[in-house]
Symmetry: C2
Subunit: 146 residues, 2 copies
Amino acid sequence: MLNRYRKHSKKRDAILEVLKSTDTHPGAQWVYEKLKPVIPYLSLGTVYRNLNLFREEGDVVSLGVVNGEERFDACTLPHAHVVCKVCGKVSDLSGETLAELLENYRGFPKTSAFGKAALDLIEIHNFTIDIRNTVFYGLCNDCLVK
Amino acid sequence: MLNRYRKHSKKRDAILEVLKSTDTHPGAQWVYEKLKPVIPYLSLGTVYRNLNLFREEGDVVSLGVVNGEERFDACTLPHAHVVCKVCGKVSDLSGETLAELLENYRGFPKTSAFGKAALDLIEIHNFTIDIRNTVFYGLCNDCLVK
DNA sequence: GTATTTGCAAATATTTTGCACAAAC
DNA sequence: GTTTGTGCAAAATATTTGCAAATAC
């Protein structure tokens, strides 16, 4: 898409595109299985290499390892995530909801545009937090009733 | 310690003890290396098996995978964590600080004893969150200045 | 004596890497 | 034509598991 990469590659385009087409926050295997029927000469290694490239370039955000597999989000707007410990489902936490969580955090400037998702770094406990990598773990409603 | 396990084991005791003795939120390898000089006939598999047992029994909390390694906390009082993306350092987030974060979350009962760390499950976005597994990712001050 | 725990090594699962070939520019 | 990207297989890494021997009760 953008020309930040050294050379153009159809497979790289396809990998980013399929990531952007979903809100399931998938891992490498999912991307591979989704693309393999369309791009027969695709290898899993290429998916891994490009996912890492995207992360380094800031085109995707890693949500960490869920059930042994690293999960990614191609939406890089500042937002946190909630992860179900049982089924591994990952859902977005809207900037507005997060703002409600954080707007009264001591030291956080009340006048900031956080509620408008304009800020993604906050100071907390001597850590500079990237809110996009912040994960709340718990149980989704489906797994809770079981 | 407690008799919830089927049979007593000195090695199991030692593994839980060394976990409780530190605030570094270590992984299996760290526990193994710490104990190996003291308990020569200790195998890494035993550490893994007991860590999983502790987690199932609720004696330790998993903080998820940091730099490819699962990290644990033997303090099971409700508290969240902040993790440095670069060096992997894990720090505790006190119940009071977390309460500041959450006390104005819409729908969260203002009268609850959350600030006293008496509550560790919160409802958010259709997820029931276990705050002990909640992780804020970012940069610690040491890594930020570099 | 029976059931559980452990050492050890092999198996598993995910991700990374080396290298020859292909594609991009 | 040089540089970058990819397929493929092997390697690396963390964790789990099978099984016989050891330990707990």
